[in-house]
Symmetry: C2
Subunit: 190 residues, 2 copies
DNA sequence: GTATTTGCCTAAAGCCTTTAGGCAAACTGG
DNA sequence: CCAGTTTGCCTAAAGGCTTTAGGCAAATAC
């Protein structure tokens, strides 16, 4: 019997792709086993359980997103950097909805941790790097990190859920105007 | 055999309470049947399926939240109204985390609809009512509705997930400052 | 007080998770 | 190149959640 060549990393990768196709919640150990034409029990040699699998997928996604954000921020500052960062998040969520959902699956973070937490730290640092263009002290800077994170994540979540698709203007039209508004706000943060 | 007195409404109500105790994702037809000391199959006379149950819980929660928001907004305007609305959402999410999660479970909305959509419309109208204090035209007003919804929902989601609990200042300290920042922003929206 | 409706039951099939134990393929060193 | 060891995938099985079908009894209606 030929071996399928499974491994924790390959399962996480395939799981991430599956999440984008059928939705993160629909990713199951069984579905992944079918994908590899392998018995379900075989996957349990590579993954502790279903939560562990989801945590690995979340880590893959969060890391991938941090890489893209870092690349987009290179050589940019101020308003330009803010738009670049925001667009990376939104574009990632639109092209990889399952993976984006996975990044926020913190229930699973308690199972793995380590690399997930590292990737999370990279994200905060990238946001703080953007904020260096706005000259904020503490606690304003932390407030601003939270404001940006909340607004960007909130907008993406609502758009993905279809909340903006039944009214004008299009979600893509509002987006840059909202990011510009945040830029203005940060510039005049008391 | 004494009857338990089940009904769609009672199941939705009990389901909402269960969601706050164990988390919305953990609410299952089986768990609810156990709660009523009744056979699982019995619930299927009152609820079409698991998604239907979740959609009913979502509707209960969204309606309850709209009621509270409407009450809090009575007699308020401007900055005052904005804080009141924002606080209603955040307080509701903190006291009823399962129900708050349910309100955003739009996958289920396709199953039921009607009342859920109604409650959703009430929420948009309340936000627009708050924005009347800021004198915005279109498309600025719609942009502002989306900004407020995104930031408030995003902040609540991240706070609930524990994203703000490992750094200073506390989530409760940042919150009013962020809402104030939004007030300032709306006041000077170009 | 009979007739009808309604509510909860038993039974059963299907899918997902997870553990235990086994055989064979693939590396490892002489 | 071929033993010995590791590793990978297998079969088997138990337990939980969902959902449908069909039945008996309690509540309601006339």
């Amino acid at each position: 019997m030929a071996r399928a060549g499974l491994s924790g990393a390959r399962l996480a990768q395939a799981g991430a792709e599956l999440a984008d196709e059928v939705g993160f919640e629909q990713v199951t150990v069984s579905a992944l086993a079918r994908h590899f034409s392998v018995q379900v029990a075989s996957l349990y040699s590579h993954v502790r359980n279903s939560d562990d699998l989801k945590a690995r997928i979340a880590t893959v996604a969060l890391t991938e997103l941090a890489d893209q954000a870092a690349a987009a921020l290179a050589g940019r500052a101020g308003r330009d950097a803010l738009h670049a960062l925001a667009d990376v998040y939104r574009d990632y969520a639109r092209t990889h909805p399952g993976r984006y959902t996975a990044t926020r699956h913190t229930a699973a973070a308690s199972v793995l941790g380590e690399q997930y937490v590292d990737a999370g730290r990279r994200h905060s640092e990238l946001v703080r790097a953007v904020l260096r263009g706005y000259d904020l002290g503490e606690p304003a800077q932390t407030d601003a990190v939270r404001l940006l994170g909340s607004t960007i994540h909130g907008y993406i979540t609502l758009e993905l859920a279809g909340s903006f698709s039944h009214s004008e203007p299009s979600a893509s039209d509002s987006w840059p105007r909202i990011i510009d508004a945040l830029d203005t706000l940060l510039r005049s943060w008391s």
